[in-house]
Amino acid sequence: MCTVCGCSEGETTIEGAAHSHGHDHEHSHDHSHDHAHPHTHETHSHDHEHHHHDDKTHDYGQGPAHAHAPGLSQSRMVQIEQDILGKNNQYANENRSYFAEHGILALNLVSSPGSGKTTLLTKSLTDLQSELALSVIEGDQQTANDADRIRETGVKALQINTGKGCHLDAHMVGHAMEPLAPEDKSVLFIENVGNLVCPAAFDLGEAHKVAILSVTEGEDKPLKYPDMFFAADLMILNKIDLLPYLDFDVEKCMDYARRVNPSIKIIQVSATTGEGMETWYQWIKATQQITMIGYQPKLTSVDSDAQAA
Protein backbone atom coordinates (compact mmCIF):
# COMPACT_ATOMS: atom_id res chain seq x y z
CA MET A 1 0.00 0.00 0.00
CA CYS A 2 1.16 3.46 -0.82
CA THR A 3 2.07 5.18 2.40
CA VAL A 4 1.44 8.64 1.13
CA CYS A 5 -2.12 8.38 0.03
CA GLY A 6 -3.11 4.95 1.23
CA CYS A 7 -4.09 3.63 -2.14
CA SER A 8 -3.15 0.13 -3.18
CA GLU A 9 -1.76 -0.96 -6.42
CA GLY A 10 -4.49 -2.60 -8.40
CA GLU A 11 -7.17 -1.55 -5.99
CA THR A 12 -7.86 1.82 -7.38
CA THR A 13 -7.78 2.46 -11.00
CA ILE A 14 -8.93 5.82 -12.01
CA GLU A 15 -10.17 6.50 -15.40
CA GLY A 16 -7.61 8.31 -17.45
CA ALA A 17 -4.83 7.06 -15.19
CA ALA A 18 -4.24 10.44 -13.72
CA HIS A 19 -3.08 8.70 -10.59
CA SER A 20 0.38 8.41 -11.92
CA HIS A 21 2.68 8.49 -8.97
CA GLY A 22 3.78 5.00 -9.80
CA HIS A 23 4.47 4.25 -6.19
CA ASP A 24 7.80 5.85 -6.06
CA HIS A 25 6.10 8.83 -4.44
CA GLU A 26 7.48 11.30 -6.81
CA HIS A 27 4.15 12.95 -7.33
CA SER A 28 3.68 16.42 -6.21
CA HIS A 29 0.10 17.30 -5.63
CA ASP A 30 0.05 20.64 -4.03
CA HIS A 31 -3.30 20.24 -2.40
CA SER A 32 -4.94 22.95 -4.25
CA HIS A 33 -5.82 19.97 -6.35
CA ASP A 34 -5.14 21.18 -9.73
CA HIS A 35 -3.64 17.99 -10.97
CA ALA A 36 -5.46 16.32 -13.71
CA HIS A 37 -7.85 13.84 -12.26
CA PRO A 38 -10.36 13.51 -14.98
CA HIS A 39 -13.06 12.28 -12.68
CA THR A 40 -15.45 14.72 -11.15
CA HIS A 41 -14.79 15.83 -7.64
CA GLU A 42 -18.30 15.97 -6.41
CA THR A 43 -17.73 14.91 -2.87
CA HIS A 44 -14.43 16.53 -2.35
CA SER A 45 -13.90 17.55 1.18
CA HIS A 46 -10.47 18.86 0.83
CA ASP A 47 -8.80 19.24 4.10
CA HIS A 48 -5.61 17.43 3.45
CA GLU A 49 -7.23 14.10 3.25
CA HIS A 50 -6.68 11.78 0.38
CA HIS A 51 -7.91 8.25 0.28
CA HIS A 52 -9.62 6.63 -2.62
CA HIS A 53 -12.77 5.16 -1.15
CA ASP A 54 -14.16 5.21 -4.63
CA ASP A 55 -13.27 7.29 -7.58
CA LYS A 56 -15.29 10.21 -6.34
CA THR A 57 -14.03 10.72 -2.82
CA HIS A 58 -10.48 11.54 -2.14
CA ASP A 59 -9.69 11.39 1.49
CA TYR A 60 -6.15 12.38 2.37
CA GLY A 61 -5.55 11.24 5.86
CA GLN A 62 -6.98 7.77 6.22
CA GLY A 63 -3.93 5.90 5.06
CA PRO A 64 -1.15 4.85 7.36
CA ALA A 65 0.72 7.97 6.47
CA HIS A 66 -1.94 10.65 6.83
CA ALA A 67 -0.06 12.52 4.14
CA HIS A 68 0.80 15.31 6.52
CA ALA A 69 3.52 16.12 4.11
CA PRO A 70 2.27 15.35 0.68
CA GLY A 71 4.81 15.44 -2.03
CA LEU A 72 7.75 14.85 0.24
CA SER A 73 9.42 11.78 -1.01
CA GLN A 74 10.58 8.97 1.25
CA SER A 75 8.76 10.35 4.26
CA ARG A 76 6.61 7.94 6.10
CA MET A 77 4.50 8.05 9.18
CA VAL A 78 5.02 5.85 12.17
CA GLN A 79 2.17 5.36 14.62
CA ILE A 80 3.84 5.01 17.94
CA GLU A 81 1.31 5.65 20.74
CA GLN A 82 3.83 5.52 23.54
CA ASP A 83 3.71 7.10 26.93
CA ILE A 84 6.45 9.70 27.35
CA LEU A 85 6.87 8.63 30.95
CA GLY A 86 6.79 4.97 29.93
CA LYS A 87 10.41 4.39 30.81
CA ASN A 88 10.07 6.06 34.21
CA ASN A 89 6.89 4.08 34.90
CA GLN A 90 8.68 0.89 34.01
CA TYR A 91 11.42 1.63 36.55
CA ALA A 92 8.75 2.67 39.06
CA ASN A 93 7.03 -0.69 38.65
CA GLU A 94 10.31 -2.46 39.23
CA ASN A 95 10.81 -0.45 42.41
CA ARG A 96 7.25 -1.22 43.45
CA SER A 97 7.79 -4.97 43.08
CA TYR A 98 11.04 -4.69 45.00
CA PHE A 99 9.23 -2.90 47.84
CA ALA A 100 6.42 -5.45 47.80
CA GLU A 101 8.84 -8.36 47.84
CA HIS A 102 10.61 -6.94 50.85
CA GLY A 103 7.55 -5.63 52.67
CA ILE A 104 8.86 -2.08 52.50
CA LEU A 105 6.54 0.89 52.83
CA ALA A 106 7.93 3.65 50.61
CA LEU A 107 6.72 7.21 51.14
CA ASN A 108 7.56 10.00 48.73
CA LEU A 109 7.70 13.30 50.64
CA VAL A 110 7.11 16.31 48.46
CA SER A 111 6.90 20.02 49.25
CA SER A 112 8.23 23.39 48.28
CA PRO A 113 11.63 24.39 49.66
CA GLY A 114 11.48 25.60 53.24
CA SER A 115 8.32 23.78 54.32
CA GLY A 116 10.22 22.11 57.13
CA LYS A 117 10.33 18.73 55.44
CA THR A 118 13.74 17.73 56.78
CA THR A 119 12.93 18.90 60.32
CA LEU A 120 9.68 16.95 60.21
CA LEU A 121 11.57 13.93 58.99
CA THR A 122 14.38 14.04 61.56
CA LYS A 123 11.82 14.43 64.36
CA SER A 124 9.82 11.49 62.97
CA LEU A 125 12.90 9.31 62.66
CA THR A 126 14.01 10.10 66.22
CA ASP A 127 10.57 9.23 67.57
CA LEU A 128 9.94 6.13 65.46
CA GLN A 129 13.25 4.35 65.21
CA SER A 130 12.73 2.35 68.37
CA GLU A 131 9.55 0.86 66.90
CA LEU A 132 10.21 0.61 63.18
CA ALA A 133 13.12 -0.14 60.87
CA LEU A 134 13.72 3.05 58.88
CA SER A 135 15.81 4.39 56.04
CA VAL A 136 15.89 7.57 54.01
CA ILE A 137 16.71 8.67 50.48
CA GLU A 138 17.46 12.38 50.32
CA GLY A 139 16.99 14.21 47.05
CA ASP A 140 18.53 17.63 46.57
CA GLN A 141 20.11 19.41 43.68
CA GLN A 142 23.35 19.81 45.58
CA THR A 143 25.04 19.15 48.94
CA ALA A 144 24.77 16.20 51.25
CA ASN A 145 23.67 18.43 54.14
CA ASP A 146 20.28 16.81 54.50
CA ALA A 147 21.60 13.25 54.47
CA ASP A 148 24.10 14.32 57.14
CA ARG A 149 21.26 15.72 59.25
CA ILE A 150 19.38 12.44 58.85
CA ARG A 151 22.41 10.30 59.77
CA GLU A 152 22.77 12.27 62.99
CA THR A 153 19.52 10.62 64.14
CA GLY A 154 21.16 7.21 63.68
CA VAL A 155 18.98 6.23 60.72
CA LYS A 156 20.75 5.25 57.52
CA ALA A 157 20.44 7.68 54.68
CA LEU A 158 21.57 8.04 51.10
CA GLN A 159 21.90 11.35 49.34
CA ILE A 160 20.98 11.70 45.68
CA ASN A 161 22.12 14.94 44.09
CA THR A 162 20.13 15.61 40.98
CA GLY A 163 22.48 18.34 39.74
CA LYS A 164 20.39 20.34 37.32
CA GLY A 165 17.42 18.03 37.78
CA CYS A 166 14.31 19.34 39.48
CA HIS A 167 12.97 15.99 40.71
CA LEU A 168 13.93 12.44 41.58
CA ASP A 169 13.00 9.80 39.04
CA ALA A 170 12.34 6.10 39.45
CA HIS A 171 15.65 5.12 37.92
CA MET A 172 17.63 7.08 40.55
CA VAL A 173 15.60 5.50 43.34
CA GLY A 174 16.15 2.01 41.89
CA HIS A 175 19.88 2.60 41.87
CA ALA A 176 19.80 3.77 45.47
CA MET A 177 18.40 0.44 46.68
CA GLU A 178 21.63 -1.50 46.53
CA PRO A 179 23.89 0.85 48.52
CA LEU A 180 21.10 1.80 50.93
CA ALA A 181 19.82 -1.77 51.42
CA PRO A 182 16.63 -0.96 53.35
CA GLU A 183 15.64 -3.76 55.67
CA ASP A 184 12.69 -6.02 55.03
CA LYS A 185 9.47 -4.79 56.67
CA SER A 186 10.92 -1.28 57.02
CA VAL A 187 9.66 2.18 56.19
CA LEU A 188 11.59 4.05 53.49
CA PHE A 189 11.18 7.81 53.35
CA ILE A 190 12.11 9.40 50.05
CA GLU A 191 12.57 13.12 50.53
CA ASN A 192 12.11 14.57 47.07
CA VAL A 193 13.67 17.76 45.73
CA GLY A 194 11.87 20.81 47.16
CA ASN A 195 9.55 21.58 44.26
CA LEU A 196 5.77 21.48 44.07
CA VAL A 197 5.62 21.09 40.30
CA CYS A 198 7.89 18.54 38.72
CA PRO A 199 7.95 15.66 41.22
CA ALA A 200 4.17 15.29 40.76
CA ALA A 201 4.65 13.67 37.37
CA PHE A 202 7.29 11.14 38.36
CA ASP A 203 6.18 7.93 39.98
CA LEU A 204 9.01 6.50 42.05
CA GLY A 205 7.21 3.28 42.90
CA GLU A 206 6.16 4.67 46.28
CA ALA A 207 3.00 3.62 48.10
CA HIS A 208 1.96 7.22 48.75
CA LYS A 209 3.03 10.73 48.02
CA VAL A 210 2.87 12.89 51.13
CA ALA A 211 2.68 16.63 50.47
CA ILE A 212 3.99 18.88 53.21
CA LEU A 213 2.73 22.42 53.34
CA SER A 214 3.67 24.90 56.03
CA VAL A 215 1.41 27.65 57.33
CA THR A 216 4.05 30.24 56.48
CA GLU A 217 3.17 29.63 52.84
CA GLY A 218 -0.03 30.76 51.17
CA GLU A 219 -3.22 28.89 52.04
CA ASP A 220 -4.04 28.76 48.33
CA LYS A 221 -1.02 26.64 47.46
CA PRO A 222 -3.17 23.58 46.78
CA LEU A 223 -4.95 25.60 44.10
CA LYS A 224 -1.73 27.06 42.73
CA TYR A 225 -0.01 23.69 42.49
CA PRO A 226 -2.98 21.39 41.98
CA ASP A 227 -1.08 18.57 40.30
CA MET A 228 0.95 17.87 43.40
CA PHE A 229 -2.00 17.96 45.79
CA PHE A 230 -3.92 15.75 43.42
CA ALA A 231 -1.09 13.22 43.31
CA ALA A 232 -0.70 13.17 47.11
CA ASP A 233 -2.76 10.93 49.39
CA LEU A 234 -1.84 12.77 52.55
CA MET A 235 -1.22 16.43 53.22
CA ILE A 236 0.70 17.45 56.31
CA LEU A 237 0.10 21.01 57.38
CA ASN A 238 3.29 21.89 59.22
CA LYS A 239 4.41 24.69 61.58
CA ILE A 240 0.96 25.11 63.15
CA ASP A 241 2.68 26.50 66.27
CA LEU A 242 3.14 29.69 64.23
CA LEU A 243 -0.57 30.13 63.47
CA PRO A 244 -1.14 32.80 66.16
CA TYR A 245 1.36 35.06 64.40
CA LEU A 246 0.07 34.54 60.90
CA ASP A 247 -2.91 35.35 58.79
CA PHE A 248 -3.44 31.80 57.59
CA ASP A 249 -6.91 30.31 57.25
CA VAL A 250 -6.56 26.59 58.00
CA GLU A 251 -10.16 25.77 57.03
CA LYS A 252 -9.79 27.52 53.73
CA CYS A 253 -6.53 25.73 53.01
CA MET A 254 -8.08 22.35 53.72
CA ASP A 255 -11.07 23.23 51.59
CA TYR A 256 -8.78 24.15 48.69
CA ALA A 257 -6.87 20.89 49.03
CA ARG A 258 -10.13 18.93 48.93
CA ARG A 259 -11.30 20.81 45.89
CA VAL A 260 -8.29 19.52 44.05
CA ASN A 261 -8.39 16.09 45.63
CA PRO A 262 -11.64 15.15 47.42
CA SER A 263 -10.08 12.07 49.03
CA ILE A 264 -6.91 13.66 50.43
CA LYS A 265 -6.26 13.13 54.15
CA ILE A 266 -4.97 16.06 56.15
CA ILE A 267 -2.95 16.10 59.36
CA GLN A 268 -1.97 19.29 61.19
CA VAL A 269 1.37 19.17 62.95
CA SER A 270 4.20 21.16 64.40
CA ALA A 271 7.51 19.35 64.07
CA THR A 272 9.00 21.85 66.53
CA THR A 273 6.54 21.47 69.41
CA GLY A 274 5.49 17.91 68.54
CA GLU A 275 1.81 18.80 68.33
CA GLY A 276 -0.09 16.46 66.03
CA MET A 277 2.95 14.30 65.37
CA GLU A 278 1.35 11.30 67.07
CA THR A 279 -1.41 11.32 64.43
CA TRP A 280 1.20 11.27 61.67
CA TYR A 281 2.97 8.34 63.35
CA GLN A 282 -0.32 6.49 63.62
CA TRP A 283 -0.88 7.03 59.93
CA ILE A 284 2.58 5.64 59.15
CA LYS A 285 2.07 2.62 61.38
CA ALA A 286 -1.41 1.89 60.01
CA THR A 287 -0.16 2.25 56.45
CA GLN A 288 2.76 0.00 57.21
CA GLN A 289 0.36 -2.63 58.56
CA ILE A 290 -1.58 -2.44 55.30
CA THR A 291 1.65 -2.88 53.33
CA MET A 292 2.36 -6.01 55.33
CA ILE A 293 -0.94 -7.64 54.38
CA GLY A 294 -0.09 -10.49 52.10
CA TYR A 295 3.64 -10.06 52.60
CA GLN A 296 5.47 -13.34 52.77
CA PRO A 297 9.10 -13.28 53.68
CA LYS A 298 11.13 -14.91 50.96
CA LEU A 299 12.46 -18.24 52.09
CA THR A 300 16.20 -18.35 52.08
CA SER A 301 17.73 -21.49 50.62
CA VAL A 302 18.48 -22.78 54.11
CA ASP A 303 14.83 -22.36 55.10
CA SER A 304 13.56 -24.10 51.99
CA ASP A 305 16.00 -26.95 52.52
CA ALA A 306 14.73 -27.28 56.03
CA GLN A 307 11.15 -27.29 54.74
CA ALA A 308 11.94 -29.90 52.14
CA ALA A 309 13.47 -32.10 54.77
Binding site: S75, R76, Q79, I84, H167, C198, P226, V260, P262
Partner: protein, 113 residues
Protein backbone atom coordinates in the same frame (compact mmCIF):
# COMPACT_ATOMS: atom_id res chain seq x y z
CA UNK B 1 11.33 22.51 34.02
CA UNK B 2 10.61 18.80 34.07
CA UNK B 3 9.77 19.35 30.41
CA UNK B 4 13.48 18.79 29.82
CA UNK B 5 13.24 15.28 31.29
CA UNK B 6 10.07 14.65 29.34
CA UNK B 7 11.84 15.60 26.12
CA UNK B 8 14.66 13.26 27.02
CA UNK B 9 11.98 10.59 27.42
CA UNK B 10 10.64 11.45 23.98
CA UNK B 11 14.13 11.21 22.50
CA UNK B 12 14.68 7.78 24.06
CA UNK B 13 11.49 6.55 22.44
CA UNK B 14 12.53 8.05 19.10
CA UNK B 15 15.96 6.44 19.24
CA UNK B 16 14.49 3.06 20.15
CA UNK B 17 11.96 3.36 17.34
CA UNK B 18 14.67 4.35 14.86
CA UNK B 19 16.57 1.20 15.72
CA UNK B 20 13.51 -1.03 15.65
CA UNK B 21 11.99 0.36 12.49
CA UNK B 22 15.12 1.31 10.61
CA UNK B 23 14.64 4.99 9.90
CA UNK B 24 17.44 7.51 9.86
CA UNK B 25 15.75 10.79 10.47
CA UNK B 26 12.75 12.07 12.37
CA UNK B 27 11.11 15.05 10.73
CA UNK B 28 8.09 15.67 12.87
CA UNK B 29 6.71 14.37 16.12
CA UNK B 30 3.10 14.61 17.31
CA UNK B 31 2.53 14.56 21.06
CA UNK B 32 -0.81 14.24 22.80
CA UNK B 33 -0.75 16.19 26.02
CA UNK B 34 -3.70 16.39 28.36
CA UNK B 35 -4.61 19.76 29.86
CA UNK B 36 -4.03 18.32 33.37
CA UNK B 37 -0.62 16.83 32.66
CA UNK B 38 1.19 19.82 34.17
CA UNK B 39 3.17 20.45 31.02
CA UNK B 40 3.97 23.92 29.81
CA UNK B 41 3.80 23.81 26.02
CA UNK B 42 6.31 26.61 25.49
CA UNK B 43 8.82 24.94 27.81
CA UNK B 44 8.26 21.65 26.02
CA UNK B 45 8.94 23.16 22.60
CA UNK B 46 12.03 24.94 23.88
CA UNK B 47 13.42 21.86 25.63
CA UNK B 48 12.70 19.66 22.64
CA UNK B 49 14.82 21.75 20.35
CA UNK B 50 17.72 21.61 22.78
CA UNK B 51 17.42 17.93 23.63
CA UNK B 52 17.22 16.58 20.07
CA UNK B 53 20.25 18.50 18.83
CA UNK B 54 22.72 16.12 17.20
CA UNK B 55 20.32 13.20 17.46
CA UNK B 56 18.19 11.29 15.00
CA UNK B 57 15.58 14.00 15.49
CA UNK B 58 17.87 16.99 14.99
CA UNK B 59 15.93 19.83 13.39
CA UNK B 60 12.58 18.06 13.64
CA UNK B 61 9.43 19.90 14.60
CA UNK B 62 7.27 19.12 17.56
CA UNK B 63 3.53 19.38 17.28
CA UNK B 64 1.49 19.35 20.47
CA UNK B 65 -2.09 18.17 20.37
CA UNK B 66 -3.88 19.27 23.51
CA UNK B 67 -6.38 16.78 24.88
CA UNK B 68 -9.33 17.92 27.03
CA UNK B 69 -10.01 16.62 30.52
CA UNK B 70 -13.13 14.76 31.52
CA UNK B 71 -14.54 14.13 34.92
CA UNK B 72 -17.51 12.40 36.48
CA UNK B 73 -19.54 14.77 38.61
CA UNK B 74 -20.97 12.93 41.59
CA UNK B 75 -23.66 15.56 42.10
CA UNK B 76 -24.95 15.73 38.53
CA UNK B 77 -24.18 12.05 37.88
CA UNK B 78 -22.86 13.19 34.58
CA UNK B 79 -19.71 13.34 32.54
CA UNK B 80 -18.38 16.90 32.34
CA UNK B 81 -15.42 18.59 30.74
CA UNK B 82 -13.03 20.59 32.93
CA UNK B 83 -10.00 22.69 32.14
CA UNK B 84 -8.02 22.40 35.36
CA UNK B 85 -7.74 20.64 38.70
CA UNK B 86 -9.50 22.29 41.59
CA UNK B 87 -12.18 23.63 39.32
CA UNK B 88 -15.83 23.01 40.07
CA UNK B 89 -18.28 21.15 37.87
CA UNK B 90 -19.29 23.56 35.10
CA UNK B 91 -22.97 22.77 35.56
CA UNK B 92 -23.50 22.46 39.34
CA UNK B 93 -20.36 24.03 40.90
CA UNK B 94 -19.64 20.95 42.98
CA UNK B 95 -16.03 19.98 43.63
CA UNK B 96 -16.90 16.31 43.99
CA UNK B 97 -15.40 15.33 40.69
CA UNK B 98 -13.70 12.14 39.65
CA UNK B 99 -11.28 13.03 36.93
CA UNK B 100 -11.13 10.36 34.27
CA UNK B 101 -8.84 11.80 31.63
CA UNK B 102 -6.65 14.77 30.85
CA UNK B 103 -3.26 13.71 32.19
CA UNK B 104 -2.09 12.07 28.97
CA UNK B 105 1.52 12.42 27.92
CA UNK B 106 1.82 10.39 24.77
CA UNK B 107 3.84 10.28 21.60
CA UNK B 108 1.21 9.73 18.97
CA UNK B 109 3.07 9.44 15.73
CA UNK B 110 6.15 10.38 13.83
CA UNK B 111 7.06 11.44 10.36
CA UNK B 112 10.33 9.83 9.47
CA UNK B 113 12.55 9.09 6.54
Amino acid sequence: MHEMSLCEGVLTVLEDAAKAQGFKKVKKVWLEIGVLSGVEHEAMLFSYEVVVRGSVADGSTLEIIELPAQAWCMQCMNKVEITGRGEPCPSCDSYQLQISSGDELRIKELEVE
